[in-house]
Symmetry: C2
Subunit: 328 residues, 2 copies
């Protein structure tokens, strides 16, 4: 199968939103009048972001999910994406699985595949996603205010737990591993929450390199500091809708130090970390309900720079947590 | 140097056109009212699209040029781009060269780097470019009309000639090699010509895989055929502005068969191939002058399907030419 047949068979579908989809030199989109365009690119490399044995449908899901997560963190509504794919060879089973996982998530978010590129080379997946947001409504990193509450969506740490099982430093039973592995391989982009937080949150980021490290970007950009509590790490709790909030029972079963490390600096969570004024607590709760997404309050923005982590007794924890850096 | 320092040092500059540039979860752009958004992604892989020894500044230029060439083929005006980069290691000399070549071309076209991603892995460069075009003005592949003239911009075949010198099948003196190599390593995206052809041409494509193969996409999409002349391959000619048109003297020095092969199926030319009604010849000439870009008329669109190549005496040439396919 050649390059053009491959695109035709696995990635070309009739354009709905786009004026012109896959198959010309460019795709053509008609932006909604008055809206800003939000754009983000992510590149996934075998051995770095995923293992070669990953289920291709899950990989297809994840490749788009990490991009949708960036739109979510800006409060943007997904519109379209391009896919550039470098493949060592044409493996039709792999392509069928990959495209099904990718397009299923795309359909769930009304985000249309409009173009891209395929080439031969080491496995590499690069997606650029485009979304829309009304001018002034985008959630940005630089707008955290002193006194803001700090929140996270969903749960953190399970993706890292799964990774450590694969590395052999942790063990889980089959059901536990499958649950953690799903969090690593098939993260849920918090698009609906991001949209619901548009007029509510002051600053937001998606947690990809580890909670504290990513929160650090908000602090640096906003010229503020933060106090982070750890009482929410003491037990697994559940949100009103029954979903786990903060950490799952899997993580709560770990020793305290591992729990801190995986939840606060685990990486690959693709949850949102955001700040909102104290007088918006009701609205944050409403946004969580509206988007059916658990939200946990984990701390507050301070005038004093730096990030202070408090143990459940309110005493500072001095241990340092490394954030993931691709070149560190 | 870590990932964030790397971005800060080599790729982050103040945003001019963009509402928000490099450094948040998404970039934010404000599309011009009423304009369509043209989007294209290209991925360049070491060993496939370039050799490891290529001058990094030229590679930076080429990585963006091949994307701008897609915008040119649609008649779109460049606006912004994202860059995703997988690097085996942080090599500051390489990064300085790469970013200088990339950003020099970006500046020349007012195309702003607004975001992207960096990761460790086999060298891979993925750029997604965005441009604007008035609704209905985009040059598309499916709109060639029976009777249209067929044109190419600039010259074709020199990039392939350079490649064959590196492969050892051809030889050139140092000056000739440098000239051909520049065409391979630093192609000129024909953006100004694309803009000037908006109301003039019926269909267009950029020549990346070889002239006949890429023209074939126009024919297939438009449901038409073509006759291609070869008299323009007999000698090097020059356009009114003194630039070579059709083929360069380097190519004209080759035996006839090699000349045909390199010019018609060479690949990596990044020239435009376009069709326009016969009554638009004056306008095509004016567009060429306005954009300071040589243009050569090479044939005509026919009702009979298929592509017929005529020798300088008007007799059909039966030889087949392979187009480049990444998985063939």
């Amino acid at each position: 199968m050649g390059e053009f047949d491959l695109i035709e068979r696995y990635f070309k579908r009739p354009a709905h939103k786009a004026v012109l989809g896959v198959g010309d030199d460019c795709a053509l989109l008609m932006p909604s009048p008055g809206m800003q365009l939000a754009v983000s690119s992510d590149m996934l490399v075998e051995g770095r972001h995923f293992v070669s044995t990953v289920d291709p449908a899950r990989l297809g899901h994840k490749a788009l999910a990490v991009n949708l997560s960036d739109l979510a963190a800006c409060g943007a509504e997904p519109m379209a994406f391009t896919l550039a794919l470098s493949l060592p060879r044409v493996d039709e089973t792999w392509l069928a699985g990959f495209s099904s996982g990718l397009l299923r998530l795309a359909d769930a978010h009304g985000c249309e595949l409009v173009g891209g590129d395929t080439t031969q080379g080491p496995l590499n997946i690069c997606i650029t996603v485009m979304g829309e947001v009304p001018p002034g409504d985008a959630l940005l990193r630089h707008n955290a205010q002193v006194g803001d509450d700090i929140y996270i969506s969903g749960t953190v740490g399970d993706a890292r737990l799964a990774l450590e099982v694969f590395r052999g430093t942790q063990s889980l039973d089959a059901a536990g591993l499958e649950q953690a592995r799903l969090r690593m391989e098939q993260p849920t982009p918090r698009v609906a929450l991001g949209l619901a937080l548009r007029a509510v949150a002051n600053a937001a980021i998606d947690i990809s390199d580890g909670l504290l490290g990513d929160l650090g970007h908000i602090l640096k950009r906003s010229g503020v500091g933060a106090q982070i509590d750890t009482h929410w790490l003491q037990t697994a709790s559940s949100f009103g809708n029954g979903q786990a909030a903060g950490i799952t029972p899997l993580l709560a079963a770990l020793p305290w130090n591992k729990r801190l490390e995986f939840a606060l600096a685990g990486g690959d969570d693709y949850e949102l970390c955001f700040t909102a004024p104290v007088n918006q607590r009701e609205m944050v709760h409403a946004a969580a309900w509206e988007s059916d997404t658990p939200v946990t309050r984990i701390g507050r923005i301070t005038e004093a720079h730096g990030l202070v982590l408090l143990d459940p007794q309110g005493q500072p924890i001095t241990r340092r947590f490394a954030s993931f850096d691709h070149f560190a």
